[in-house]
Subunit: 370 residues, 2 copies
């Protein structure tokens, strides 16, 4: 335990608050930037940990938690007027908990703010290996937490898709934080892999950088049923669905007998007042389909297995991970909006502070930062 016992420094702390429950598509104005004073000190006798935030993860679930949408069994909503929160990477400034020392690099749930007082330090984890980009602790790699995009992709693909070599795989939102990994796992398995995305740039990257067999820009397609029939003349064995809605309806029409759909997300639906109705449900019977939803939090026991698999893949360059990085806390609202308008390229990360970036080992950064 390392505290100085005296009065800490008082500094300005910028933070992003949720104004009110978000309705419809998120707007930057749904969040409010405020500045408060904070004493860089943990309260006397508390086991809290004070963290300087370095990176924040921006994910669709933060939008879901900002709405009043009923989501029993899922995560609760943020309270209007409270600070936004997500996974972050930070440096410990002061600790009331014996597991953490001043100067430690940590990851865990932090506020969307420059300095975060973590009052539940059991949600915080020390970063042991810094030979990978620190931002990977927000998603792809060593975070047994939600939303670990790497574990999500791994669990979804290996536990729920039950893919076999030679099968046909369709991934919607294929350039997203999870989709890009699922596609690469499917290629490693020897599947035929097609992805959909929202821009020609993403389509090109899917094919040329991530090794997808084909990809299409759903915004340019007049009839998704026709599009899928063109790419899968004999049908789809496995759909990894991040999108829902019209895309899912077209997928149902194009599944093969005994096909499997793993439901990871339905990003096309979150911002609608009322979800689109899925009409082709009879195909579930005609084609003996299995649809399964999953949330990665239920599968943390697979984390060691995942790590044994994924770490070498990353280090050997068999799996690449594309992040879309922007800078400054002030860019978080735009980053949240960007999740829903196809503007981001890969996993979205915001650098809140840069003090440690240069001190990080210059590991071979496999990702492209476009």
């Amino acid at each position: 335990m390392e505290t100085d016992g005296g009065a800490g420094n008082v500094v300005r702390n910028k933070k992003l608050m949720l104004k009110d429950y978000i309705k419809g598509s998120p707007k930057e104005s749904d969040l409010h930037l405020t500045t408060e004073s904070i004493e860089l000190k943990v309260p006397q006798g508390s086991n809290a940990v004070l963290v300087k935030v370095l990176y924040l993860s921006i994910d669709p679930y933060q939008y879901i938690r900002s709405t009043k949408i009923e989501k029993p069994g899922y995560f609760s909503s943020y309270s209007p007027g409270s600070v936004m929160a997500s996974y972050g990477v930070g440096r410990v400034l002061e600790s009331g908990h014996s597991d953490f020392q001043k100067g430690d690099l940590v990851w865990g749930t932090t506020g969307w703010e420059e300095y975060s007082l973590i009052t539940e330090p059991e949600t915080l984890f020390k970063i042991q290996h810094s030979d990978v980009p620190l931002s990977y602790y927000l998603g792809v790699l060593v975070v047994p937490s939600f939303p670990n995009t790497g574990l999500t992709a791994y669990v979804g693909f290996y536990e729920f898709c039950a893919a076999k070599k030679g099968e046909t795989v369709f991934i919607s939102s294929a350039f997203g934080a999870v989709g890009q990994l699922v596609g690469q796992l499917a290629k490693l398995m020897g599947c035929y892999v097609v992805g959909s995305a929202g821009s020609q740039e993403k389509v090109d990257l899917l094919k040329n950088k991530l090794g997808f067999d084909a990809a299409f820009n759903y915004k340019e397609e007049k009839n998704l049923d026709d599009t899928l029939k063109r790419h899968f003349p004999e049908g789809i064995d496995i759909c990894f669905d991040n999108v829902g809605g019209k895309m899912l309806d077209a997928v149902l029409l194009n599944m093969k007998l005994n096909g499997r759909i793993a439901h990871c997300g339905m990003i096309s639906q979150y911002t609608l007042d009322e979800p689109e109705g899925i009409k082709n449900m009879m195909n579930i019977i005609y084609k003996r389909l299995r649809l399964e939803g999953f949330v990665v939090t239920d599968h943390y026991h697979l984390f060691p297995k995942f790590l044994d698999f994924m770490l070498p893949c990353i280090r050997e360059g068999k799996i690449v991970y594309v992040e879309d990085i922007s800078e400054a806390l002030e860019s978080c609202p735009a980053a949240l909006v960007g999740l829903f308008n196809s503007s981001k390229l890969g996993k979205k990360v915001v650098i809140v502070a840069t003090e440690l970036i240069t001190s990080q080992p210059n590991c071979s950064v496999l990702l492209g930062q476009y």
Copy 2:
């Protein structure tokens, strides 16, 4: 092989033809009764079998096959102008196939007609045991064929619901040919079982005759979500879905975490020009649900296991089977219509000819014929 080699008798043969593809709800006028002459003789040198039809099975899939609805991987449509067909029980009048002798009782696919010339006798099976009602060969018991309502219920419940003692089970169209059996299987397993049906009479029978813990008439309920919440305050572990549509949408809202939905049919949707959209799909993710469609034809390998289980249950009265029996070929159109307006009570059977009924052993008929 038993043929008399001479000219057979020529008799009148009533038959029911499909006029044109049915659109929307079936009407009696969609079928056309015609009378043709038939020589009671199999063509010289053919291996066909001539059958006098005794019972016919009336099932929702005959409606589906009468429409132009696309159903890849499922059964093809009947051709307009052709005779309707379904499973039937009959007596062999003449046989060109060595497996069948004049006088044999058989079951298999027969036309909706008084005399049926079966040109593919490999689809015909000899009835070995007549210590159960012959009508049971159309569904519940010893028919390893589609639609074997008994095997359908057995496979759906044991292979797809993965039920455990104490779990909560909801069955839609619970008094139907399959639903009534699933409910009894679930009760034998020690589950809490609630069913929906379309009349108070059925509701009473579900509770008083079939042992359901509760049942409701969906036509009397204003809000199916509220209804399900009332019956399942802690949620539904397992839904055996025969209905689809609005009922399924309400079910999705009321499933427990890790719930399972076995899709057996979606009778509320078949007659609609366009299916209702299912809006609560996000619950598949929130609640980590598994939805699976199945068709009993894929599971015939389980037939011996099924028989070992079901025959004693029937003989010991642990499982009862309710049939709704009407008489004469002319009643088939009304029987088909009755599948969709909640008027039938249990598995629908039409007696086409009665000549053998009295000669059948007077076994303990466990079913009620209302």
